[in-house]
Symmetry: C2
Subunit: 470 residues, 2 copies
């Protein structure tokens, strides 16, 4: 099929197919060609190959290179390097690239960037470097960036763009369009224009399609809509993203404590924030905190160590429970063989309930007060599956060790532990959320502690009582 | 502070503060007032209270009500009910509401909706109802919806809006603006206009802010940009969302197999898709498939059962390994007490590595071919933490059972199992991904199977050899 393509299409298709392989990863050939050019110091070839790339494509390429090559690439490309790409890579990679650049060069790069991208890079630097870089910027940019950096980390004020279009309410559509045609200093792209009074207080917003549909003499105040959902600059970025997402806003005005317009959160920022937060949730549930794939071995090992230490403590607790029944086990070694099954099934069932609960909490589908319905539901699910697996595992145990008594004991223990799993899986995240902790980060350990302890205690205790040993 | 508020602001603020409580959940008082009005059949009060709500707010309210009240609310509100809200609730809730409506009413509702929302509702209905409803629609709408429904589930064609603005390349900016001012049948909102040739083949796109900056005599073809990232209608929705996200597009053209423009994927659809996919990933990692909080007890129990059954099989496998060493345990019951620690630590470490790997695969940061670096990293992390916990747990065991031998055995087993955990945590998702399976859904069980089996075998086997028993 390829040779039937029209000539003018070929170059475009080639760039794309060269950078990525068919699975969507950076292609080995492309990476190796870049590495060869870097090794040869061939900055002309690099500019030619890399300048046409989109910032996100350049970001992917940077992630595929090793650290020395990343720094060399930035150095060799000089002015032709698109620093926006730094907002597309992991924090560890961004830092390693920026750290290798002299402050003067960082300042020159920052000047080329939109304000939100500039803040993204500046916020990771240490105080001293940041101060020196800011001082090298023109007055107006310095003031704007400094103000954004004064807002708390992960706030809307940090993520907002300080470039926006704002007009007074008494302007006509014609005046507004003429202004946009004449004015050179507009943001690179925008989806709404905002309406402000002389003190910069936010009055409303107009979507661009509304302006295009209106006649020239119409007044802006007549076609604007009130901005019921202005974002306070101090608001947490996740909360701000949720507001924009809930109300399908094309972008949102960010206001300071006096309701003055200070910036705009664009929808692509919202998408970035949402991805970041979803990633955080998944990693917290998996016990790897905020680790990134580019972290060093030591950083990763240290960040996982604390989680494993908590798990070690709870595992020892479970062992203490087993230790209570050492005499029983000594006389009936089948118990040692079977007991991990009870604990493992409980742990899995508890994790299932916990996952559903953590997601429902994140989506605000349940809270501490209206949890009754969910608790009933989960208890019933736990009971149903508890009974199913009581039959299955009970039968396996009875046949394996030729003992109806052992089958009965493990069956009852299974029902008890599945019920405990359901209750722990729902109550632990609910209580953690109520106490202001992130249920995603802490629930896992607590839930499996409960299912281990209850599982071993119920099974070994019942066996000791049933067979009268220990 | 409240009494200093200006009069005109009060009503707006009140609606908001009444619907949600301070934690962002639907407030109990609001829900109870609605429930009272439903019980009294007071449709006038319901219309007054509920009509001002945003579709997403109405969706939250529906989720907070029980099923009978949901259906009654829709019935009592009649024409005043905003059916867009049905796209904001869980599938189970949507179905229960729609199933209670006569087809005639569904057809009337569908006619009021944008095409993507209409498809959202129609796709869940059974074949016969869908056919009857479509037949009640005007010809043009019927054709459009039918075409959307012919695309595969979860494809871009299903999620696209078939309403869009398209103009020929030779039009001027002035002509285009005049057209938008005169034409009544424009989409409710749009972020780009598309450029097509007479056969509807896509030529390019123009962002609205670009039009507003251009002078009236400028030609559209001179200000348009090529749409390098047109989305084939058959493309999976997740892949389409990734393209739009990667290139920060305000919206994307959807084209059929002849490259003719058939619809547009708006950015808010992209956000919905991304949320849905993140939710799916988290639930799959937690072993609850695509379960929703509104699923019935039986549906939930059944969907979790299969996952638990796999886990039961692997738990029995681990028990078989323990069974190999029954004579050893009989002589040294401390082994039974300590063995869950080795398995549990391995399981947790394996889950950590697996979580990092699954996320890196989803973000396309690693693949089968360039995994060498990550495998080295994870092996080193496993070795480091394995050594740390070998010392900690080894010391605990040695003191607890007053046996340096036992401490040494558990320490060595710990290092072996943490290394196995690291390798399983990275290789299993990589291989599953390579085989085309979703690593999020299947990796968990395989990884803990490996860490259980290796953990028990290493610890008990070493003990049998060290102490010469069994």
């Amino acid at each position: 099929m390829a040779d039937t393509r029209l000539d003018e299409d070929v170059s475009e298709v080639e760039v794309k197919s060269e950078l990525y392989d068919e699975d969507g990863f950076v292609a080995r050939e492309f990476r190796e060609r870049v590495e060869t050019a870097i090794a040869a110091g061939d900055s002309e070839m690099l500019r030619e190959e890399i300048s046409p790339l989109h910032e996100s494509e350049l970001g992917d390429l940077l992630e595929a290179l090793d650290n020395d090559n990343r720094q060399a690439l930035v150095r060799l490309m000089g002015d032709a390097f698109d620093y926006t790409a730094l907002t597309e890579v992991d924090e560890a990679i961004r830092l390693s690239i920026v750290d290798a650049m002299p402050n003067e060069q960082i300042a020159a790069a920052v000047r080329e960037l939109e304000s939100d991208d500039a803040v993204y890079i500046l916020e990771d630097l240490d105080e001293e470097d940041r101060k020196e870089i800011l001082e090298r910027l023109p007055f107006r940019e310095r003031i704007r960036l400094r103000r954004s950096l004064e807002y708390p980390e992960e706030s809307a004020g940090r993520r907002m763009q300080t470039e926006f279009v704002a007009v007074p309410p008494f302007w006509t559509v014609g005046q507004t369009i003429d202004y946009m045609r004449e004015e050179d200093d507009l943001p690179e792209s925008f989806a709404q224009i905002f309406v402000i009074d002389p003190s910069f207080k936010l009055q409303g917003a107009v979507d661009l399609d509304r302006i295009l549909r209106a006649k020239r003499p119409e007044k802006i105040e007549d076609i604007m809509h009130e901005t019921r959902h202005a974002i306070p600059a101090e608001m947490d970025q996740e909360e701000a993203a949720q507001v924009i997402e809930q109300y399908d806003l094309p972008s949102a005005a960010v206001v300071d404590s006096n309701e003055r317009l200070v910036g705009v959160l664009a929808i692509d920022d919202v998408i970035d924030i949402m991805q970041q937060e979803a990633d955080e949730d998944i990693k917290r549930l998996g016990g790897v905190g905020d680790e990134e794939i580019s972290d060093t071995v030591l950083t990763a090992a240290r960040s996982r160590f604390s989680w494993l230490l908590i798990n070690a403590a709870t595992a020892i607790l479970a062992s203490l429970v087993i230790g209570l029944f050492d005499a029983t086990i000594e006389q009936m070694v089948a118990l040692a063989i079977l007991m991990p099954i009870v604990a493992s099934m409980g742990g899995n069932a508890g994790t299932q309930t916990m996952t559903v609960t953590v997601r429902a909490l994140a989506a605000r589908d349940i809270d501490f007060h209206n949890a009754g319905r969910i608790i009933r539901r989960e208890t019933l699910v736990g009971l149903l599956n508890g009974l199913s697996f009581a039959v299955i595992i009970g039968a396996v145990a009875a046949v394996w060790f030729d003992s109806g008594g052992l089958g009965s004991v493990i069956a009852i223990a299974m029902v008890i532990n599945m019920l405990a799993a359901a209750l722990a899986g729902i109550l632990i995240p609910l209580v953690l959320d109520r106490l202001g902790a992130d249920p995603a980060i802490a629930s896992g350990t607590f839930v499996t502690t409960v299912t281990d302890v209850v599982g071993f205690f119920a099974f070994l205790g019942l066996a000791a009582w049933w067979f009268g040993i220990g």
